[in-house]
Subunit: 259 residues, 4 copies
Amino acid sequence: MANAVNLNSDLGESFGAWHMGNDQAMLGIVKSANIACGFHGGDPTVMRETVRLAKANGVSIGAHPSFPDLQGFGRRQMKMSPAEIEALIAYQTGALMGIAAAEGVRVTHVKPHGALSNMASVEPDLAAAIARAIKAVDPQLIFLVTAQSQMSKAGRKLGLTVAEEVFADRTYGDDGNLTPRSQPHAMIHDAAQSLAHVRRMVEEQAIFSLSGRKIPTPIDSICVHGDEPTAVAVAQSVRDGLSAAQIRILPLPEIVAVN
Amino acid sequence: MANAVNLNSDLGESFGAWHMGNDQAMLGIVKSANIACGFHGGDPTVMRETVRLAKANGVSIGAHPSFPDLQGFGRRQMKMSPAEIEALIAYQTGALMGIAAAEGVRVTHVKPHGALSNMASVEPDLAAAIARAIKAVDPQLIFLVTAQSQMSKAGRKLGLTVAEEVFADRTYGDDGNLTPRSQPHAMIHDAAQSLAHVRRMVEEQAIFSLSGRKIPTPIDSICVHGDEPTAVAVAQSVRDGLSAAQIRILPLPEIVAVN
Amino acid sequence: MANAVNLNSDLGESFGAWHMGNDQAMLGIVKSANIACGFHGGDPTVMRETVRLAKANGVSIGAHPSFPDLQGFGRRQMKMSPAEIEALIAYQTGALMGIAAAEGVRVTHVKPHGALSNMASVEPDLAAAIARAIKAVDPQLIFLVTAQSQMSKAGRKLGLTVAEEVFADRTYGDDGNLTPRSQPHAMIHDAAQSLAHVRRMVEEQAIFSLSGRKIPTPIDSICVHGDEPTAVAVAQSVRDGLSAAQIRILPLPEIVAVN
Amino acid sequence: MANAVNLNSDLGESFGAWHMGNDQAMLGIVKSANIACGFHGGDPTVMRETVRLAKANGVSIGAHPSFPDLQGFGRRQMKMSPAEIEALIAYQTGALMGIAAAEGVRVTHVKPHGALSNMASVEPDLAAAIARAIKAVDPQLIFLVTAQSQMSKAGRKLGLTVAEEVFADRTYGDDGNLTPRSQPHAMIHDAAQSLAHVRRMVEEQAIFSLSGRKIPTPIDSICVHGDEPTAVAVAQSVRDGLSAAQIRILPLPEIVAVN
């Protein structure tokens, strides 16, 4: 469905006395927020504040669970068993549900964070463990995944509602995976270029690799990162550009109802 | 109501590679379990295992939230603001709800742990913050409190269902508070003595201080601790003795429905 | 000794992916750095980077140990036993010594952080536990303390070299303690005012309370905070102003050798 | 040198309210203790108690640093950069040095724990990072390593004193590595069998694989684990049997001076 898409961002990543990102600005732009659950960022107080801000902005919320690695911001690979992963996802998703309930809103999606997401994008067993956990906690939860990843397959296999995500500020390889950050051209920092990249993906419902290969995929959501200096400008540019192109920006639950 | 009472225990207090208590035996005796939520003990995997065991034994479950103090087992006083406390309670209660949902059971009560409970028993502002958090997360949750404490008052004031708890293995002072562990006669280690202590409290619906003072109180639940060598014997003795005295032992939701 | 003083700042308070303060700028201004040891801020990687920067700037280093409370940045009161405190101080001081040894520099002082410092300023038992730990780890370590506090007394009683510290950006009450942050006029944000405040204290070797009371004290060191927007400007102003007044700014080991 | 060997054990692995192992009994048997430094087990208070017990028993002490993974007891693989590893080792080794200094004893060796040791046994870059950190903190520290591992090579290359360790209760594959715990015959639980295994290795200065292959290696130390029910009996059997065979059991610093 090329005439509507979701815009999401990873938010609530401050912790204790430390601030990260510009949540207030981003929550005025995106329509869904992936909220850190205390394992790579976020703490109960930060989570509550983020949920309040999301609610005030009409932004749908999801859990953004991570490996237990605060120092590494969840970006370091860890080897955990499928059983440990299931419990990890249920715990963090539930924690956000508790905070959200206290604010009178519902958690409507789950999107794995950092190294957990990267590993589960290519490891079927890990992807399946995450999908099982989400289904067990609440089968209505939307599983927001990297487009065309093992998570997408695992979620669909279990009957979950899967939303496929592409990145506004990242390029892709011929296998459909993100270009690793260690390589040149991995990132897109220019707002106009980012918008063109996003529009092409949404309008053609496909990923385009750096070498020009076209990989068809449903695209339900665009992720814009919130923790870089250019983040707010890029996000605003993408949002304005899509709107100008008659593509509606909707919260995730509305998108999956349409798509 | 002297012919029925709940029996509860603090369980799921193992963490990672470390074991604590005899949860398997205790879950065959008690009717409600207060489950550690990862802040003083418990981790997602331990929580899941504990919820499974509770479910298999027909034991109702509640969150046992704590200060964030793993090394101190939640027994060291901390100064946190009411807003921090509210978020802390919502987070931990939600985390257990996530785990419980994944196992197909419901969290039906909340009982604060350790120093948090001791402080909230005498500090009205702290007690009120806890009560507000419980009500915000789910107004159906039972607030399991030290009998006659500030938590009892705060919970009733907010309209929560409050269950008052006495201890099978602890003695009381003339003010109705527990004799501090640092003083002689604080603990009751003898199973027969513990049973007599419990029967008298339940039958007369009152606390009796060491000096003999009678402090009337509704008594909904008896707490038996699970982490001492004599715990299982004491718990079994209390349960058998109450049954022999025609006092039914029920899960917390049934007790509050009756009382 | 009014013609020389130390200038110190609390640094290395970033953690993992989160940044705090402007360590690079501050290390070009102060002569001693109190380095967070991982319990309220700092992690092994941040500590190493901070030690390297301090070394490159000729800045002496000290451990800045805290309660184990990362989320609360060590600013929440905790009740720990004297034995726990002793081990806590030895652990954190040693951890910095390990990092410093790897960089070829020595840890020359210890300054307690946050709530631990505030509590030990008025509780003799806590102050004594900290002093015992420092002496046990290395009796040559300088104990950097709030001027006229219980820590000063405890350190001197044990024969430690004590350096008394006043704050460039805080005002004092008639008892010589800091005006609590919750009260008006607790903070001094104006650079010129801060310099005048510091010069008067150093030149008269006394604290002056808001009401005008003069409390004589040796003053070995001035603390300038690094985590406020105005921090660098205030620190630079104090340093330049003292230099202009012919007051030399020296590292802590040189100051205690002179004083 | 076949007529003297060290006997070591991983100790101080309790944490907060949780107990693990039988340190008191093991410290009466072994001659060197690898002490957990708070990242997989141990806390400042436990470390201090363990150092005191080791000192009272004439047992030499070493740091037993780990990945930062308390819940996983340091047994889960993590991907950390060489720079992070160096800081991690320096921090934990220093922390034990601080505690040891407070008790008047010296840290004389470092032995990596769990997944960190397993990974560094086969990854040259990781092994080199650990060796660099040890040398930087104190070039006199003995590097206690799995015999014939990449850590052995990395330590020797840097000029560290390396002590090669074999396990009393584990079998070996044809490549000289430990049989993975997931395979049959990985563990030796029988005390007599364990002694025979150890004697043969020490007397022939070689590892023997399950299939009978002989892999020559200097053997400086035998590791006996302390956390299994049979641990104390196995350790005592090994010690008594070696003594009966005229093989002296010495602390690590004395062994490396002899060997």
